[in-house]
């Protein structure tokens, strides 16, 4: 087990390192940062002075080392677009809004996915099963940003039930959360259905029935508890989906989170902010993957020896 954890942890570190390497390389490809920092009339001596100040006269590998050692401490420099704000400070300000939305979306998607997934398995080939199939298919085919706009058009513009955009009370959160959770519903439901089908077929379920247990108790207690291990394994996919989805959903609904921040930063070519968001998100993403893999290996010993 320790060896497995060590190997996976090393791999995660490697992935984060590759990410920093990519970000650093791209930052340098994008041209001389001094062209953006200095006014047009700056002379060569100005360039030399500022380049010395920022360490840009050093060889590339030294620059990378400086970048890395600052990045480890969460220092990605100052934003160009939002004056006087550090890139990391902006990310920290906006992150709570994103986490709030993602958490709500996860809750909504579980509330929808659990009953439909279970009912689809219990009534295989029935109406619920068909509904589940259609939801799964739409989950894969609907562009999430378009779903957001359609929901906004129907429920905010036409019916006026919810506000179109912004952040406030719970009514502001419902449409974005459904948009964000939609894909997750499809994933969780499909997996839950297939693992429920496996469990329903097993010996111990027959035993509980022979014992004379009420059918609802067999299904919702004994089966569901055993079947919910499988969907846990895709939690990493779900977390990844929620984060990428947040970028899209936030820009549709003008939700003031990290996703909106990064899109604004890309439009303004504010590279410092983009790299801060990307490294933080990638870190969360890779860490979730790691934790889930370890959890899964703990639950299912076969994984450790692969």
């Amino acid at each position: 087990m320790q060896r497995y954890i060590a190997r996976r942890a090393l791999q995660s570190l490697l992935t984060i390192w590759v990410m920093t390497l990519i970000v650093f390389t791209l930052a340098r490809i994008s041209g001389n940062p001094l062209d953006v920092m200095l006014p047009l009339e700056a002379g060569p001596e100005e360039y030399a002075r500022v380049s010395k100040h920022w360490g840009l006269d050093q060889p590339l590998h030294t620059q990378y080392f400086i970048f890395l050692s600052k990045a480890v401490r969460g220092d990605f420099g100052d934003s160009w677009k939002w004056h006087g704000e550090s890139a990391m400070g902006l990310v920290a300000q906006r992150l709570p809004a994103t986490l709030q939305l993602a958490g709500f979306a996860l809750a909504i998607s579980l509330v929808i996915a659990l009953p439909i997934g279970v009912l689809a398995a219990v009534m295989k080939g029935n109406g619920w099963d068909t509904a589940a199939k259609i939801i799964a298919l739409l989950g894969q085919s609907l562009p999430p940003f378009w779903l957001g706009i359609v929901l906004m058009w129907i429920f905010a513009v036409h019916l006026g039930w919810f506000p179109t955009s912004g952040r406030g009370g719970i009514q502001y959160m419902i449409l974005p959360a459904i948009t964000l959770g939609w894909f997750q519903v499809a994933v969780v439901m499909r997996l839950l259905r297939s693992s429920m089908l496996d469990v329903l077929d097993s010996e111990f379920v027959k035993l509980t029935r022979i014992k004379g247990l009420a059918e609802w108790k067999v299904i919702w207690k004994h089966c569901l508890r055993n079947a919910s291990i499988t969907p846990l394994t895709v939690f990493a996919i779900i977390a990844g989906g929620l984060m990428t989805g947040a970028v899209v959903t936030e820009s549709v609904f003008s939700w003031p989170g990290t996703g909106q921040l990064v899109v604004d930063a890309v439009r303004a070519r504010d590279f410092q902010v983009v790299q801060a968001v990307v490294i933080v998100f990638a870190g969360i993403f890779i860490l979730t993957n790691l934790v889930v893999d370890i959890l899964y290996a703990y639950l299912d010993p076969r994984i450790r020896y692969q």
Binding site: Q11, F145, V150
Partner: protein
């Protein structure tokens, strides 16, 4: 596993695509018809089918509603956008853009992945270990974020989008092909080819590749829809194709601000994406079940 097929045929299995062609009657007709009318015909004959130039509009005709709404004319059946460009023509040209981006990305990414996957599975050893770590890493990179970094650095362009999609795509092909190569290289016909003096490159090209074609076709088909969705998402975020390209994602982004006054600007391109991706997914599922059922869990 497809080992039975391989065992019963002495040299290599002919692509089962040919066999599948015989079962025309069992084709998934609805997705195929939708794809033909939504994607293939518009993409191939955009300039003949589209009534107007997708980039030229007249400001006097801006934001005309679709024909069946009050104020709409048959001149512009799906209405016009805020620059007075015909929605229908832009959607038709958008099909060409979507199809071209996804096909180029899948083709290039698929070739890179297939070659590296074959090398990895065939030679094994440290090459395999190194390539598979690379695959693991590139599968765990968050695609959209990577795209945002690349675009922030070099700006949005056709090349940027293709690069992003390729980085994302190659690893899946490499993993798939490596797995199959591992099984195939143990077969007798590979040993016989070696004894007959075939070089490594010849063995990979003539004896291993034909045996992985089926899986490649299925994976590629399953991915077209996904790639179209990804490209439109990137374009929507401003990290995909640059304006004024008639890309579906960009058109939806244009329509987002007009949602209160002009719903048609964002609705129709979205419908086009949804129907295209939906039918591609149905077609991919069907192909998988018929050509390569073992991919069901990939």
């Amino acid at each position: 596993m497809a080992t039975e097929t391989i065992r019963t045929l002495p040299w290599y299995a002919p692509p089962r695509v040919a066999q599948a062609m015989g079962q025309v009657r069992r084709y998934p007709l609805v997705p195929l018809a939708l794809l033909t009318f939504l994607l293939v015909i518009p993409a191939l004959f955009a300039s003949q089918v589209a009534p107007y130039d997708p980039l030229q509009g007249s400001l006097s005709k801006r934001l005309k509603p679709p024909a069946w709404q009050q104020g709409g004319t048959l001149e512009y059946p799906l209405g016009t956008d805020k620059l007075g460009r015909d929605m229908l023509s832009r959607i038709i040209y958008g099909a060409r853009v979507s199809l071209m981006v996804s096909l180029v990305a899948i083709f290039v990414g698929g070739i890179i992945g297939t070659v590296l996957g074959m090398i990895s599975g065939y030679f094994g050893g440290w090459v395999d270990a190194l390539l598979m770590r690379l695959v693991d890493i590139s599968l765990s990179l968050p695609t959209i974020l990577l795209a945002l970094v690349l675009v922030a650095a070099v700006g949005p362009s056709f090349g940027t989008v293709i690069t992003i999609l390729m980085i994302f795509l190659w690893a899946r092909y490499a993993r798939l092909v490596r797995g199959e190569t591992l099984a195939i290289k143990e077969r007798d016909f590979i040993a016989r080819a070696r004894v007959a003096g075939a070089s490594h490159i010849r063995i990979m090209a003539r004896y291993i590749f034909p045996n992985v074609v089926n899986s490649l076709v299925v994976l590629a088909t399953l991915q077209v829809g996904y790639v179209i969705l990804l490209e439109s998402t990137l374009s929507f975020l401003g990290a995909g194709l640059p304006r004024p390209t008639p890309a579906w994602g960009l058109m939806i982004a244009d329509g987002r601000e007009l949602i209160v006054t002009a719903w048609w600007v964002s609705m129709f391109p979205g419908l086009a994406i949804m129907l295209t991706v939906l039918s591609l997914n149905l077609l991919g599922d069907w192909l998988r079940d018929h050509l390569d059922p073992k991919l069901r869990n990939v």
